[in-house]
Symmetry: C2
Subunit: 271 residues, 2 copies
């Protein structure tokens, strides 16, 4: 079982090229999770950004402040290539593009703004405190094989995910907890996985079925404190066969550490 860091770190094979073995563990129904794939691209982009630095500005580690990805095709587990391009290198931020390619087809392309999150820790204003959550120990762990789903969610072996039963009454919304089963602490890169690890918010509207992500944007706002994270995933508008989903993540110090939004499609049930 590969830990998250090992499962997402690509091997450099050129100035702007990396190789990765997409891990069978971070999957849903045998397919790599979209947030896991975004983390793979971020690892390559961050490595590329570090290499652009001179000795003078090499001290602060870069983090993925903003990540925006479009999903073109769902890759299979196994070998894939990451291609990067440094679009701009600045004193306090870098901008990069990264794409995941498998068998000659682009699967995901993403744009990143990387910078130092240490300096972002000073909260000047926040619109609301975290909502109420049932304590971690009082929430049941999500099963790898949800009864009746016919689905095997391998990633739930390595992510201890717990949906808050008290939140089930809220239409279009899930609340829950997440921690890594191996005890590793979350960091700004693994937060990119976290924002895409809850069930689709459409399930909380009685709309069953797969909801492939078309676009996912995540802002990582702070380095999370150790401990389980609290997550809220909400749909705001479901129209036609598209839904948005807004995901907020709070750490053990009640700080909003990640904000994400995605546009996803679903197969509308027959009327």
């Amino acid at each position: 079982m590969a830990g998250f860091q090992a499962a997402t770190t690509p091997r450099r094979s050129g100035e702007d090229a990396y190789e990765i073995d997409l891990d069978p563990q971070w999957t849903v129904g045998g397919r790599p999770n979209g947030g896991y794939l975004l983390a793979v691209l971020a690892q390559a982009a961050l490595d590329r950004a570090v290499r652009a630095r001179t000795a003078l500005d090499r001290e602060a580690l870069p983090h993925p402040q903003s990540s925006s990805a479009i999903y073109l095709a769902s890759p299979e587990v196994g070998p894939a290539t990451v291609e990067t391009e440094l679009l701009r290198h600045g004193r306090t931020a870098d901008q990069l593009r990264a794409r995941l390619v498998q068998d000659g087809a682009v699967c995901i392309e993403a744009l990143f703004v990387t910078g130092d999150l240490e300096s972002a820790a000073d909260v000047r204003w926040v619109d609301a405190p975290p909502p109420e959550f049932t304590p971690f120990d009082d929430c049941p762990r999500s099963p790898v094989e949800p009864p009746g789903s016919g689905l095997h969610i391998d990633m739930l072996e390595v992510v201890d995910q717990r949906l808050d039963p008290a939140g089930f009454g809220t239409a279009g919304e899930f609340r829950g907890w997440a921690r890594l089963a191996d005890g590793a602490a979350f960091d700004p890169v693994s937060l990119l996985f976290v924002v895409d690890c809850l069930p689709p918010a459409t399930f909380a509207l009685g709309i069953a079925g797969w909801t492939p992500t078309l676009e996912l944007t995540a802002y990582i706002r702070a380095i999370p404190e150790p401990g389980p994270l609290r997550l809220r995933q909400r749909a705001r508008l479901v129209s036609g066969n598209l839904t948005d989903q807004v995901c907020d993540v709070w750490d053990s110090k009640d700080r909003l550490v990640a904000q994400a939004t995605q546009l996803a499609s679903f197969r509308a049930p027959s009327p």
Copy 2:
């Protein structure tokens, strides 16, 4: 005075190349507005997507369902180039990249998912109705030269923008109206301008100063009905020198037609 459509439509100069004269009218302090620039890139991407179509699937006009941009440098008014790349052509959706280049430097790079919005009109669920707005005629039009700002906002000559005085009491939030001064109706492309046309939400927190956009993601959810649009721009978290801003846009039929989120920086005032 160029209308929005003319001011954003680039001339094709190659298979994946376009030329545009960035218009002096759609500017703030002499610099092209970020939403205007995103609309320029969208026009090029949509043209490229249309050309990928066969006669069989050419009927429905494509719209920018999802647009995600990172802003690297603020271009000047005048000539610039747009480079496109068709990443994937599908039956119901296309994915493209577009970048704006001026004097050899990449100013913006954006990823688009284009598709047909006609079929997205059927609202299955929405989390909340539009908030209360003071009627359009009872809101004062925003001045081109806000008193004391020292700023000339040329775009407010062509956009009739009205901030809702009743909303000024809400911290971190602006509400207002927008319509095109020449009477043109908004469409899915000009909505990309609308989501970035209100003052920074940080102004509603007493934080003055310029807030350059680092990343902007916009989901266009429906073709807007004719008539003035209602806009709400909210900051959710201001920390360090970064803020997010969430913009929602409703049309005259009370439909949520656009949802956007951006990450912007600001110069923190000296303590």
